[in-house]
């Protein structure tokens, strides 16, 4: 039996809540810049030791730039600290952001089902917002992302 337990958090990134609703995004969320923003947050709030103890299991497993969904893994001991730091993240680069937790699960399997569900629902909303100018490669990109979810592993 695996003695090491993780927590998988499904979060959505809300970019620039102050801006009016428009189609294009100020920045593209990637694994790298989310990870960097969170690590900076942990450093400020919990210091060097806090960052070091969280870093062992901390990883941004999946990011969908279209629907702004991300899956973050953390150890079970440290996940609350990491979650608080994520909530206190104010900006990624120059763009003010807002993180909102959608789902918290203990196994990768439950996380995968939750992510699939949230991703599809968010894509429906995205299609509503974009309206007519839905391009084919966006849809293709979306399918790739859904595939990535299915092959996620711990």
């Amino acid at each position: 039996m695996v003695g090491f337990k993780n927590r998988y958090m499904v979060m959505e990134v809300l970019l620039d809540p102050n801006k009016e609703i428009s189609g294009d995004d100020p920045i593209v969320v990637t694994q790298f810049n989310i990870s960097k923003a969170i690590k900076d947050g942990i450093l400020v709030n919990f210091g060097e030791c806090g960052l070091a103890s969280s870093l062992g299991s901390f990883q941004v497993k999946y990011v969908n730039p279209i629907t702004k969904l991300c899956v973050i893994r953390a150890s079970r001991d440290e996940y609350q600290k990491i979650w608080s730091s994520i909530s206190m993240v104010r900006s990624i680069g120059n763009c003010p952001v807002l993180f909102n937790l959608l789902d918290l699960s203990g196994s990768i399997k439950a996380c995968k089902t939750a992510t699939l569900k949230c991703d599809e629902l968010k894509f429906e909303q995205y299609k509503l917002m974009v309206g007519a100018c839905l391009s084919a490669d966006v849809t293709q990109h979306m399918q790739n992302c859904l595939e990535k979810i299915r092959i996620l592993e711990h």
Partner: protein, 630 residues
């Protein structure tokens, strides 16, 4: 369980800075939209004043309507539904807006103003106090009549929190508020807040603590789960933190609104709208079932409307709107109400077209109706609307509700029939309707007749009880209606139940015509006692017994002076539920007359039911023609 954010700062726009006011308004709209999207079900606009209150400080916070929100965020509904599903909040629960005032207190004289007699405080839904020194804090904990004590933790505290004070405040039902947006905004403030608030949370263990943002802009609002997690930084367990943004807020709102809307904590007065469709099939009382204890009146945004059209404004909300009691209290004569006062029609504080219902008995505990129950054995339980006391009825009847009632109010009555487990049956039917309802009444009467027809033979003794509830309807005057829902359960030895829902309305508006006093008689009192001896314990019909002992003397109005008592009849039957809307003749005596022949014909056997059934429609029709001979 909904989530609430009870501190959204509102700055009243001074006429000097027009630009600021538009910016502030758009910020407010954005915050509200973000809160709705994140899954909150209620927010409160917080206005802060300092020092002495003046009359200018009356509540003037405009509540936002759905159309203004949809202008900014047209795809609001899909996002809201998505988040609500994730949080487990029902999709159709309305989004509520409340108004809140925070008074900063530093001298004793200012503290004295915070009592329940202050009229300015009454214009806000929630009242909070922010003490600035030790005396103010002590006074706030022990004596001030407020809902929330809000302490600014982001700087060094000017006073010490003392455990006995905190305990006293909790005992009085005051909530402490911790705002979390400063945690997000500034690093130095983070330090202060955590160290200051930790003490409070250690002492209270999360009891009577609410969490809220005091978000200066939309970037500082966080979702309910995230807020609960931030509270765990302060030492709360996750469960208590979640309660702090949901359950505690909800009980706070219930208390605050009760203080605001209820007269002496008991009676809630609402006006019945005259705009109800006259051919609506839904009985009036069905709306009362949806009585909303934390409704904020017109602040509630029903989100179903969003799905229908993006640009629709909120439909005529079906939620009941409570009367601002203070404005009415001022108009009440000191000697109490007389019916003749109502004839002149008093003004109401709300628009005539708002749909409101008046039911007086709802806030009263169910035990009130039990009081009238003469049968100790019969555990008659009134479903939702226990009958009010005679005294309260008189008071409430005379309270003016609206000044303009265009259409005659419809009174729907459904009849309840309850049976005891031993098989004795009670049927309570209330019949009072305006003539408009004649068709529906006939149909329902026929339906009830058919129900009775299906009743099987009754072996046990039957007794008929008739209760009449007087109804008096006045088109032009305020209307108080008390609906009684009675369940009649009948079952034979096989314990089958029939349920006939009966609602009785009592209305006492005066009318232009001659005033006559109608007294209600209890025919069924003797029968009731007789029945009680034989009935078993599982009887559910409080209202019938309530009506038995209830006496009402009303003055009839020109149009319909109707006195309706609840009629209870015992029958045994299969389990059925029939809603009975029956017409009531204009005169009370007709109803009595109608019932008397029915009683006279009834045997003690089951066949009475059949005869009753067949006679009932006829009796109802004929009763209208009869002259009162009472």
């Amino acid at each position: 369980m909904g989530f609430f954010d009870l501190n959204i700062p509102y700055t009243d726009s001074t006429p000097l800075s027009k630009a600021n006011s538009t910016v502030a308004k758009s910020t407010r709209i954005k915050i509200v939209i973000k809160a709705m999207e994140l899954g909150y079900t209620g927010i409160a606009y917080n206005r802060t004043i300092r020092g002495v209150m003046s009359d200018r400080d009356r509540c003037s916070i405009p509540l936002l309507g759905l159309s203004s929100l949809l202008d900014v965020a047209p795809f609001l509904s899909s996002s809201v539904n998505f988040h609500r599903d994730l949080l487990g909040v029902p999709r159709s629960s309305p989004f509520r807006q409340y108004t809140r005032l925070t008074v900063c207190i530093d001298t004793a004289s200012q503290s004295q103003a915070l009592n329940s007699g202050n009229p300015i405080l009454k214009t806000y839904d929630i009242v909070a106090v922010r003490p600035l020194n030790q005396n103010a804090f002590d006074h706030a904990c022990e004596k001030a009549e407020v809902d929330i004590i809000s302490i600014d933790f982001s700087d060094k505290l000017p006073f010490r929190l003392k455990l006995p004070m905190v305990k006293a405040a909790i005992k009085r039902g005051i909530y402490f508020e911790i705002t979390y947006s400063d945690l997000i905004v500034d690093v130095h403030q983070r330090r202060q807040i955590i160290s200051n608030a930790k003490l409070l949370l250690d002492w209270t263990q999360g009891k009577n603590v609410i969490l809220s943002s005091a978000a200066p802009s939309v970037c500082e609002v966080r979702g309910p789960n995230d807020v609960a997690n931030l509270a765990s930084l302060l030492g709360l367990s996750m469960e208590r933190a979640k309660a702090a943004i949901s359950k505690n807020c909800r009980s706070l709102l219930t208390n605050a609104l009760r203080r605001k809307h209820f007269f002496k904590e008991v009676i809630r007065v609402e006006a019945v709208s005259s705009s109800r469709q006259s051919d609506s099939e839904i009985p009036l009382y069905a709306d009362w079932l949806k009585w909303d204890p934390i409704s904020s009146g017109e602040g509630d945004l029903l989100l179903d409307d969003m799905a229908k059209s993006f640009s629709a404004s909120t439909n005529a909300s079906k939620t009941v709107k409570a009367i601002d009691f203070d404005s009415i209290i001022d108009k009440m004569p000191s000697h109490g109400f007389q019916i003749k006062d109502l004839i002149s029609g008093s003004e109401a504080s709300f628009q005539p077209q708002t749909e409101v219902k008046s039911f007086l008995s709802t806030p009263q505990p169910i035990e009130l109706s039990v009081r009238t129950n003469q049968a100790s054995e019969n555990s008659i339980r009134h479903d939702l609307f226990p009958e009010t006391d005679d005294a309260t009825l008189d008071n409430t009847c005379s309270e003016p509700l609206t000044s303009a009632f265009g259409d005659p109010q419809k009174l729907y009555l459904a009849s309840y029939a309850t049976k005891t487990s031993t098989g004795s049956e009670e049927v309570v039917t209330d019949t009072v309707m305006t003539e408009i309802e004649s068709e529906t009444c006939n149909a329902s009467v026929a339906a009830s007749g058919s129900v009775e027809a299906e009743n099987q033979g009754l072996q046990s003794k039957k007794c008929y009880e008739q209760n009449f509830v007087l109804l008096n309807e006045n088109v032009n005057d305020g209307l108080n209606a008390v609906m009684l829902n009675e369940e009649v359960i009948s079952h034979q030895t096989s314990a089958m139940d029939i349920e006939l829902e009966a609602a009785a309305l009592e209305i006492s508006p005066p009318s232009e015509s001659s005033v006559e006093t109608i007294k209600v008689d209890d025919i069924a009192v003797d029968m009731d006692k007789e029945r009680q001896e034989t009935t078993a314990s599982s009887l559910n019909n409080m209202s019938s017994l309530e009506n038995i002992s209830e006496r009402m003397s009303l003055r009839t109005s020109e149009d319909d002076a109707v006195i309706v008592d609840q009629i209870s009849r015992q029958q045994s039957d299969d389990e059925m539920r029939v809603k009975d809307d029956s017409l009531v003749p204009n005169h009370e005596n007709q109803v009595l007359l109608m019932e008397e022949p029915k009683l006279a014909e009834a045997d003690s056997s089951m066949n009475d039911l059949g005869s009753v059934r067949s006679n009932e429609p006829c009796m109802k029709l004929s009763s209208r023609k009869n002259q009162p001979q009472y």
